[in-house]
Symmetry: C2
Subunit: 191 residues, 2 copies
């Protein structure tokens, strides 16, 4: 009982740090948020953060992992009907955390921990997008997938995830964004 109590306290404190980090990283960027500023926002001392996280990168990865988990829950709740809506919804999610995504790419150069997290994220993301594509194609043609085979089909998730990252990174405004998602889905039916 006492063990559970302290373990929960620790998780709560950890979450408080992550709450502050999520807000500051988005508002001022990752590089623009010092450990000092983060500690102050969480009501602690910079050195205390190192009791809960290995380093600043570990805070970044923890923030993103938590955001991805809650986004997955939101997605299930939204129950979006069309593939275009789903892609557009994804861009909206990443939009709100654009500075974090840029930070991941920047830090992946220097840190193998970040680089490996990034690789795992894209593997999972590509698998999910591929499942979406397969589902969409089978609804159109119940007999099977169109010509081209698996190698050709594997290109689609790549193009889509690059497009989503690109739209977010360059802040493409809403009307053009929807049009681009529609084009991606249209090309899927055609190509």
């Amino acid at each position: 009982m006492a063990r559970n109590r302290t373990a929960q306290d620790r998780d709560e404190k950890r979450d408080e740090i992550l709450d502050a980090a999520a807000q500051l990283f988005v508002e001022h960027g990752y590089a623009g948020t010092s450990m000092n500023a983060l500690a102050k926002a969480a009501g602690i001392t910079p050195t205390t953060i190192y009791w809960y996280f290995d380093d600043k990168d570990a805070v970044l990865l923890a923030v993103l992992s938590r955001l991805m988990r809650s986004a997955a829950a939101d997605y299930d709740e939204a129950a979006l009907p069309t593939l275009t809506d789903r892609l557009l919804w994804l861009t909206g999610i990443f939009d709100r955390i654009a500075p974090l995504i840029v930070a991941i790419h920047a830090r992946a150069q220097a840190s193998s921990t970040v680089s490996e997290w990034h690789d795992r994220f894209h593997a999972a993301s590509d698998a999910w997008l591929l499942a979406q594509v397969r589902e969409h194609l089978e609804a159109d043609r119940p007999t099977g997938v169109p010509a081209g085979g698996d190698e050709r089909l594997a290109q689609i998730p790549r193009i889509w995830s690059y497009a989503i990252e690109g739209m977010v990174a360059h802040g493409l405004p809403e009307p053009e964004r929807r049009a681009l998602c529609e084009t991606l889905v249209r090309q899927l039916a055609a190509g």
Copy 2:
């Protein structure tokens, strides 16, 4: 004459700094290259760099501007026949300077100078890609552009530049990279 002499000397010294910066930024990343290390590589003192450049970001933009100029010259010389080859050639160019592109995205968050440079770069890049697309389509159908109009055609350069950035940022290996370029061109004919 004396004026020309000093002006040329100044440009030469500037170029020496940019030579060192181009190598170090690519090798160790932008954040991983200190002004101290850059100065040492250029055989000067950190403070001297500020005589030639406003700040570290200005060095980054100057390096990239110079690289883009020389890449444009190389492109004209290469005279690549197919659109797929041209796209693949572009990814090869950006591949060698991937750390610089990540740095631009990271710094664009904090610096309006970098952000504006980045915007101008993409405007020019999209216009160039659109011209390539138009040329390709007219070669196929001499009577004109296929259905969809300009709004629909404008999506293509965006998807392509996002795809190129994505392939480079994620280090997609050669065979998949060529296949993806082929898919992009194939979808153009179809979509």
